[in-house]
Subunit: 485 residues, 2 copies
């Protein structure tokens, strides 16, 4: 047997048990707010727990075989799909989203921390269901942390090895033993930051329910809001700055934040990805602020805040919006469209290409010019002062090229469903990058309800692809993967 299917199913069982338990956490809100959704939630939870338990029992007597790399690919992609399938239950059973396609889109958008929504009116959805919606993103974020720091580097995906050396207590080793140890530390941090944001939002006058929901989706860089107007609902500068700070933190490598808390600031300050992340946000914010000042009557602070909010939200792939960024000037539409391709830091909950890959890309491009003049000289790309193996640079370039190819192919397919130019480009860029809002008819003030059914499935698939760093999913589509050798 090439694959360890019993162990894979066993892990799916664990994931479903956790998923069912998380669903049960929505019950208090359903009961308190009397949205009529408590039964749907209880039933969803029961079904999910039952299936999870069954899987566990069925696979109890497995031989204790080690999990291999190939099993890893199946677990990761399979896990996200299984969670998304069962995650639709609360929507479907409560009737909040009666249609399976829409429910799956919304759930996938949750677990992939994307934040694209088919809900036209969010505020009418019962509070228990809405909490589930926020929770899917937070669970997704937890998954991403373990994926980023422990699994992807072992699978050798698209240059994530670059980052692994920086993680505390990790050495590229066998799959299982190290995962829990490192992931746990970062999970504590994740939980702590979520609680901290919640407290700060409440201190600003946001009620408990909205505070917890927004904190869950901020730290996951998800961007689902309980308000139709997203963060624009809160016109208090304080609240918007709280969002900005925590979006920024969520888009920062969690291991780096971990070091910062341990007062190891040297490690933080000499981290190249972090420096680029901060400088890039600063530069683009200045440019955007000036543009907003020129084209609107808004004051300095408001312009700066609008610029900073949107820039941080898009770069970290969170996708909260505090203003309609497509209404200002064509320049900002283009600029913010391009930000959909940046992505936060590796090892954060942010999706997209990631800053470190761009750094490798640009350094290599400049070196390529020098290499033309001195073809025989060896000029490695250096990150944090260390030379990067050529192999990894190669993987990074291949990752970005495949990313772009999928982006283009996705746009062609979506436009074949009669979606217009801007909307097609925007929708594909924002789902593949796990951001949320796009441009055109899926802009910051719109939603994905009007997308064609096939388009919703396509975009759901793109969210999964983007979230799992492409290769994890693509691998399963390659016949080579399934061939016996």
């Amino acid at each position: 047997m090439k694959f360890n299917f019993k162990a894979i199913l066993n892990i799916m069982g664990i994931l479903l048990l956790l998923n069912g338990a998380f669903m049960a956490l929505c019950l208090p809100f359903a009961i308190q707010y009397k949205g009529g959704d408590w039964f749907a939630i209880a039933l969803s939870s029961a079904i999910t727990l039952a299936v999870g338990l069954t899987l566990r029992l069925l696979t109890k007597n497995r031989e204790h075989k080690e999990l291999k790399k190939r099993d890893g690919y199946i677990i990761v992609s399979g896990g996200w799909i299984v969670l998304s399938l069962f995650g639709t239950l609360p929507y479907l059973l409560s009737g909040a989203i009666p249609n399976f396609t829409d429910a799956f889109f919304e759930t996938m958008s949750g677990f992939t921390t994307t934040g694209a929504s088919i809900l036209a009116d969010i505020e009418v959805v019962p509070k228990g269901i809405l909490f589930w919606r926020s929770l899917t993103q937070w669970i997704g974020g937890m998954g991403i942390i373990v994926l980023a720091v422990a699994i992807l580097p072992l699978l050798g995906i698209g240059g994530m090895q670059l980052f692994v050396a920086e993680a505390p207590g990790i050495a590229p080793d066998k799959l299982q033993p190290r995962i829990s140890e490192t992931a746990k530390r970062l999970w504590y941090l994740y939980v702590g930051l979520t609680i901290a944001e919640m407290g700060l939002l409440m201190a600003g006058g946001v009620n408990f329910y909205d505070s917890i929901n927004h904190s869950l989706t901020t730290m996951a860089t998800g961007g689902f809001s309980t308000k139709n107007a997203s963060a624009a609902h809160y016109d208090s500068p304080y609240i918007q700055y709280v969002f900005i700070v925590f979006m920024f933190l969520a888009g920062t490598s969690f291991t780096l934040t971990y070091f910062a808390l341990k007062r190891n600031f040297k490690k933080v300050l000499r981290n190249e990805e972090f420096k680029v992340y901060v400088s890039f946000i600063a530069i683009i914010t200045v440019v955007a602020t000036i543009t907003i000042l020129v084209v609107t009557d808004n004051g300095m602070e408001k312009s700066f805040r609008d610029a900073l909010f949107q820039v941080v939200s898009l770069i970290t792939t969170t996708g909260f919006v505090s203003a309609d960024y497509t209404a200002w000037a064509p320049f900002l539409t283009v600029l913010f469209f391009i930000l959909l391709f940046v992505g936060g830091s590796a090892g954060s909950t942010a999706g997209g290409v990631k800053i470190v890959r761009h750094v490798v890309l640009f350094k290599n491009s400049f070196l390529e010019l020098k290499r033309q003049l001195h073809p025989s000289a060896v000029m490695p790309v250096r990150i944090n002062g260390k030379a990067i193996e050529r192999n990894i640079v190669f993987q990074v370039l291949a990752f970005i090229m495949i990313y772009i190819s999928i982006f283009l192919l996705g746009t062609v397919l979506l436009s074949a469903m009669n979606v217009d130019f801007d909307t097609a480009f925007g929708a594909v860029a924002t789902t593949l990058g796990n951001v949320g809002p796009g441009i055109g008819k899926v802009g910051p003030m719109d939603n994905f309800a009007a997308m064609p059914v096939a388009g919703k499935w396509l975009l759901s698939f793109l969210m999964l692809l983007g979230r799992l760093e492409l290769f994890t999913v693509l691998m399963l589509l390659s016949p080579h993967f399934w061939k016996k050798n």
Copy 2:
């Protein structure tokens, strides 16, 4: 002395002498059609010849030092710029284009075989000047042939070595001696094909003047037309098919056509780039034909011809248009926009990324999936059955990444000049790819007259960058290049 400036100036002198001689070729048309442009042309020619001669005389007593790689970069970029500067003279002196920015844009668009035009009404331009406009493209095409087969491979630009092995009578060797020999053979072919197209157009009832103009700009994959409606002016299917055939040939590697004429068909049929070129055109044409059939009332033949014409025109970066491709369906706008990034075959007069680079890119991407599973296995990219050095694959990937970065940066800059989203993307893609028509306000039925002045300079620079395979120009912008070592 690091650079051989005397030799460089000497070669500029030769180029100007040739340029001045070509200008003189416009005189018969100026005189015959009595457009009042003969004096401007004669004067332009005289000035250009005089400057060329002066440069030659000033650099006569140069030591016979060999030209080095570094000199090569300056000659190539400098040559195109000097030709474009002097090439504005006929426009400026005749008043056909009174503005220097516009004249430079039009001339650069000519010499880079792009075909983007600032002329709103082409048909009122005096015939001698219009012939010069067509001639700039044809001269540019001649330059590109020598560049592609002889110079770029020696400079080691972006994977052009891939192709050099296929050229007749070339070995990667010292710069000078081989150039003339190979280039000459291909120039004969270029001239022959131009004459053949001219004959076929005349046989279809096109007059001598329009036949020669369109032949010159077809073979250069330039796309300047003497008619406001471009190829749509000729509604005869025969004439449009003649255009299609010669655009296709102009986008085919000239060395391959050379082998075909020598009846070495095996070499042609086992050439991977050629196979992909043909298959890609076939597939996209079928898809586009079906779409046109669905969304319009046009018949089968007309739909097929419209599809094939636009697909071949865009892929070969010619840029003739026989129909408004942005009016059919959003799908075709997106599809045709993406075609702006394809580019014809290496070793043709086509611009853009080029098919062979895409082939390397896709093969490498698929291999990367396999490499993830078997990290230690060596899996080289193979083209025409031969393993490609990893170095070259690297260069190709770097080329494409830099291409995309420049595309994005260009779009941001253009949109900062208040150009809207579609237009900015379209204008940058089409100039960088040396195609001609874009989308938005620079679509197939429009022109570049309304672009802001700074935008015209930006786009002129992008044409040069794209035409000279990026590195040749970028190199000159790098401080490293000019440093003494």
